[in-house]
Amino acid sequence: MALIGSGGAGVVTVGNLLLEAAAVDGSYGLMRRSAGPQIRGGESAALLRFADTPVEYAGDYYQLLIAFDWRHAERFIDEIRLAASSCVLHDPAGGDVPEPIVHTGARLIPIEMQTQAREIECGRANMIALGLVSSITGLKLETISSTVSRSLSAKGENVIAGACACLERGANMGQSLGIELPLPIAHVGTEDRWTITGNQACGLGALKGGVRFVAGYPITPASEMLEWLAPRLAKMGGCLIQAEDELASVNMILGASYGGVPAMTVTSGPGLALMTEGIGLAVASETPIVVIDVMRGGPSTGIPTKSEQTDLNIALYGMHGEAPHVVVAPVSIPDSVFTTQWAVHLAESLQTAVIVLSDQQLAQSRMVVNRPPDIGFVTRRVTAQAGVENYRRYALRADGVSAMAIPGTIGVNYTADGLEHDERGTPSTGSHDHLRQLNKRATKLTGFDYGDHWADIEGDGTIAVVTWGSCTGAVKEAIRRVGEQGVPVRLIALRLLAPLCKQQLNQALEGVERVLVVEQTFSRQFYHYLRSQVDLPKFTESLARPGPLPLAASEISAMLLVDGA
Amino acid sequence: MTNPQEIATKAEFLAHAFALEQESVDRYEELADAMDTHNNLEVAGLFRKMAEFGRKHAVEVERLAAGSDLPTLEPWDFKWADDEGPETGDYADIDYMMTPVQALQFALANEKRSRDFYGLVASHSPNQTVRELAGEFTQEEAEHVTLLERWIARHDSDTTIADDLDPPNIVD
């Protein structure tokens, strides 16, 4: 279901309450957000889907649309697909139903929410809507009431009483509509379930990985992760600094990490662009850092509030010179915990920069998840012991990882350097030192055992979809559907984008005759990247579309069902 | 600072004498290294030689100081005639293409400053022992001055720095 409205209609609040109440009643769900550019009073949408299993895909279309008004609806109306079977509950006070909505053939039901709310003291139209949803979905009114009461507890009894009265009024109004969309309930306990956003999940993963220093500069849609981290880091004995810009952010984390404290910064595309020189320094000086890029529409300032996967190229190739580093991407909201934790592990183990590519869709969506499993990495930076004879910070070793001295350690003092250097770290312009150090920095990444984490692989068959990031949810749904029609399709969702595990990817593609590469870009960045790295089957197609329109499982399944031969 | 005449004990005097030589050695070594790095090997060699002289003198001072507890002075607490030690020279007189005779003139200025420093102590210290010791040191520095003047006279007196055929380099 989708809720849209502008100017204080409170759709995001309703969405959050609904997700929470549904979770308490045993349902899994996902809530995406879509917002306009205004700080206050702008149009926004809460887009929800419920199921009896974890929901990683927002759905092809919405069965229920509740519209408080239609202001600026044209800005995101194409993100809210409707079918002829859909129902649209719209407040006549919010204006006429726009043409594109009428054209869908959906059932249009005018329902007075604002007028009804005004009749109740402290009444709000969004609570009327929540009541409506309760009766339509069978979500227990008591559950919603207690969720609402809890969230409004600071606002006083009158407000709570008004909200509860609205809920009841809405529920009564809903009964006469004759719409039934029962909430799917998972019949096991909810005690091990969480509601979490992708931004929170990345933050949690970083803390679990051992990050204790973060520097960042506010940027949409990443600021929420910084805001989530700041108080929690402080309480865990760590520290977050709001830097003066992204150039400072990345250099601050380099300083902290040089001091021996696992460190991270969080940004979005424009910030990543500013950070690339600093990331190169992390690579050259072999100082571990983690950089999270919550991607948004680009280029330039682009579409800050909406999702896209178009920072892949800058993440892979953005550094000047040859600066091998690691690029990872979570394949779902709960996986953001694991992938970020893994990113810290890789940065620390490999003494390099790791870029984590999340995106607005993962980051700002809230999901009911099964508690992500605890993964215990033995994350340890190889450090130099005090008083080692003839200490060489950049010593050449078989695995490419050399012991890093942490300031305070006696007798192994050294100067980290972004200038090319010899094994001691002394600047060198000689070709022999350059070649050796280039080789050192490259082999430590390619020779590392990434285990099975490099990708999520599911299913069998001669068709495979290769995808990454937030597209994975839609792809999984598409594969499930074509599977039901008897066409088995393999899923390969890459978590490790660089260095690409070519051998493993080739193995995963064994027996595959046809590949579909799915991504949310305009210029097919992922497709071209894969093509440049591995020999894909002759029948390899690309399904790529830029944001902010999310990819629909139906489009993917349609492509899979077309006879590729 | 800037009051050598107030040096009042043998220990304080020897601490000055040792620091003077030690700083002299360190500075000449630094200059010699810099000249090495910049391919003025002849001047590098001269500075290296000056450092060697300084080292010998430092050993002598150490010998005189044996058994006595010298005060630890901070760099800004020394009673030099100027803020800086007499034999550290002036960076402004250094050029990467300086000629040997210019290097000797640099050294001469150092020796003269040392001589004058010891001279002030010799004539003004309230302590008889210090005055006598400083007098000996003044004598020795005066000999160095004479020696250097003789060397300079022997040398080609060319003090014009040759044209630099290589433009400055772009580094990082």
Binding site: V24, T415 | A34, H38, P75, D83
Partner: protein
């Protein structure tokens, strides 16, 4: 035991890497002042970190044997801030040139002054970009025409490091001359002992691109006012603005709360996970 040879000496803080600086460069004097200051403070080399950006003067960390990070152009203060935040136990000295600190790194300079972290920032100011062959820097006079890049001068008012540091909130501001390493060493000691952000602008002649700066030794003089150092920003501003930029000494010292991280250890990861439970 010989009483002279077991002393902590400035050269104990030097490495065996030979400077690339031109003979006669003022930066030698700064290096000597830093090592003298460290010896005076009797700091263990492993407890000190010297952080720099890019430029001639930014080469300084490798010439010492303390911990060092030779970072990228303009970002030394950010590097130092991160290290200080993560490792409050270390003594942090950030060093670099006028281009590094006031041009490409100008924003970080302002915010480092504001933030008032406990660290010392030494800028070797020679009013020129040396490493890239003699271009005008933010502190170059507007009518300096020796650079091919700005053949008719910059026509821009020179950056006023001390006045800007004052306006931005630095709590220790001083100006010094590289030709006086002993005086500078004392200033570095005071700066490192100052709780908060201490800024020293060091006039450090470039014999290669600004040979006329050899005259600086005859021009620099201590501030001829008894009022300095002061804790009154208005008075400090007055003297900064009246001065021709060649007076040396500590100008401003203010006791202001130093940036401090919280050192709570209140919760564990399990506590944080609780908040996600349904």
């Amino acid at each position: 035991m010989n009483p002279l040879s077991d002393k902590i000496e400035p050269k104990d803080y030097k490495s065996d890497v030979k400077p690339v600086w031109c003979p006669g460069c003022g930066d030698f004097g700064v290096l000597n002042a830093i090592t003298k200051a460290l010896a005076s403070l009797r700091l263990a080399p492993e407890q000190v970190a010297l952080i720099s950006g890019i430029g001639c003067s930014s080469r300084v960390p490798a010439y010492t044997n303390v911990y060092g990070f030779h970072g990228i152009h303009g970002r030394a203060l950010a590097l130092g801030a991160g290290l200080k935040a993560a490792r409050p136990d270390l003594h942090i000295v950030v060093a670099g040139g006028d281009g590094d600190g006031f041009s490409i790194g100008g924003n970080h300079f302002l915010h480092a002054c504001r933030r008032n972290m406990d660290m010392t920032y030494i800028v070797m100011d020679n009013e020129v970009y040396g490493m890239t062959k003699g271009q005008a820097s933010p502190t170059t006079a507007p009518d300096w025409t020796e650079s091919e890049l700005t053949p008719s001068g910059t026509h821009a008012r020179p950056f006023q490091p001390a006045a800007i540091a004052l306006a931005a909130g630095a709590t220790f501001i001083a100006r010094a001359f590289s030709g006086k390493p002993n005086t500078l060493a004392q200033m570095v000691v005071l700066a490192m002992q100052h709780p908060g952000f201490a800024f020293i602008q060091v006039l450090s002649p470039c014999p290669t691109f600004r040979p006329e700066q050899k005259e600086w030794k005859n021009i620099v003089r201590p501030f001829a006012v008894d009022a300095l150092p002061t804790s009154d920003p208005a008075l400090a501003a007055l003297h900064c603005q009246r001065d021709d930029g060649m007076s040396t000494g500590v100008i401003y010292v203010e006791a202001r709360p130093v940036w401090k991280r919280s050192d709570m250890q209140e919760i564990a990861i399990d506590d944080i996970e609780q908040e996600f439970r349904i």
